[in-house]
Symmetry: C2
Subunit: 292 residues, 2 copies
């Protein structure tokens, strides 16, 4: 089944929304791609692109005739937008999102888009962002070879097959789980690494400025994600607060394990800890390569 839509609407045209528009055009996945953005300058920028057919200044107007809608704004803006669009969308419309959290978004999706006369919402999380944000960094190949997590829960089969074929058509590998499971996983593999990078940088900024002249690629790579948009990330931490706090507390335990290995006279526990870490990291290279 090759994905094809007549009227796609991208709600929010930042890094992910813009890249989706480009990728859909490049792969000829839609007859028409339209955009709504709350930002006037983003709407103006979209109007100048070759992938965007119509730019709307209201999401309701944009979605009236849509058969595929993708929420691409910050995670906390998605449920209020769903509420506005639920009475508007056609029953055959499929809606999804690209948010980094899923439990609250999918609960809102269930609330606003359930019942046989309604459109269908199924959550998606393409692991394809970066520390960069905004339309100027968008690129058609952003999704290629990366993983997309779908959280279908009780979604009907036909829209789910359609959604799978969409992300597959962008070159993504699919991973499916429940929304709550998704949030526990990404808390650990994405939100925690972001928090560590941010804490590392916040901490370093209290030290003499010339220390950064000594920085090597170890520090650069391990802290790269800390350059991400604070507004996006504070919304993510809030949306996924309980799983995120749990991942922080798990991490504290791992750090305590390292410290107690240091307390021992011999190096056996220290070597064991570092070897366990290395084995995991080497294994990680064997998966498909993807960004988040």
């Amino acid at each position: 089944m090759q994905f094809f839509a007549q009227n796609v609407v991208i709600l929010g045209a930042g890094l992910l929304g813009g890249s989706l528009g480009m990728a859909m055009r490049q792969r000829n996945l839609a007859a028409k791609v339209s955009v709504w953005s709350p930002s006037e300058s983003t709407r103006a920028a979209c109007a100048k692109t070759d992938w965007c057919g119509t730019v709307y200044s209201s999401p309701e107007e944009a979605c009236q005739e849509a058969d595929f809608v993708i929420f691409c704004g910050p995670v906390d803006t998605i449920p209020p937008l769903m509420k506005r669009l639920a009475p508007i969308c056609r029953p055959d419309c499929l809606l999804t999102d690209v948010g980094s959290t899923k439990a609250r978004i999918c609960a809102a999706g269930d609330q606003y888009f359930s019942g046989s006369r309604k459109a269908t919402f199924i959550g998606s999380h393409p692991m394809a962002g970066s520390e960069k944000s905004g339309l100027p960094h968008a690129e058609a190949k952003l999704f290629e070879g990366k993983t997309c997590i779908l959280t279908p829960a009780d979604a009907p089969l036909e829209p789910l097959r359609r959604l799978r074929s969409f992300w597959s058509a962008l070159g993504m590998t699919l991973f499916e789980c429940l929304p709550e499971e998704h949030d526990r996983i990404v808390a650990q593999i994405s939100h925690l690494p972001h928090a560590l990078a941010a804490a590392l940088c916040a901490n370093l900024s209290d030290h003499p400025a010339e220390w950064k002249d000594c920085a090597g690629s170890g520090l650069r790579d391990s802290s790269r994600i800390a350059a991400g948009d604070p507004r996006l990330w504070s919304a993510i931490f809030r949306e996924n607060e309980s799983a995120f706090r749990e991942s922080l507390s798990n991490f504290r335990k791992a750090l305590a394990e390292l410290e107690s290995a240091l307390d021992e006279k011999g190096d056996e526990s220290l070597l064991q800890f570092l070897t366990k870490a290395r084995d995991y990291r080497i294994q990680l290279n064997r998966g498909n390569s993807c960004d988040e």
Copy 2:
């Protein structure tokens, strides 16, 4: 002043030692480069390279006629080796190292190589390693464009100028400080990031294996250094234990700051924390790019 040596001896031919040999040959910095390695297989591999003139099975024999000696083995092996070589080295010999810690190594250097009739030791730390180790990963361009930290303390001017010209000839930017200061800096910018990456991976290895299928480039980049050699890193943590422990305790404070920002109802402190981190990280990109 263009660096040039007659008889260079590399003690330990792993990633850094091997790369030094290659780079010196490529840039024609020495009449002859010799190697001693405690490993028979490394000695055999060196004998087959185009940059290695003679391979020695004893460090004493290797260093007898040397005018430039570089310790390239694990940090804890350097002081015992200095003790063996102090009675052997010619008075005009300059010795340095590539170790990731400096206080203990430079103290041993002062002990074994001080006085006007003795050779001179000055500590170096080229920030040019990676998570890879061993001769097979060595490359001539490893040092280009990166930072080398020198810790001369009371070194006489002539050998210091010679050492500066050596690392500069390899394309490195120099940074000079006291050995103890070096150790505090690298604890924070190199050893701490390594510990965080290792704790992140050790922690993740306790979670379901399929979680790694969801991993994005955020996790990959922030954990890359955790794939480093456990033996090398446990020696580094031990050698720099007090500054390393201090950096861990600093980091705990930064993490606690993030958690108390989360405890607040509003997002102001959270945004402030993430913005401070982002500003630091963006600034880091403006320095010269270098590896460690």
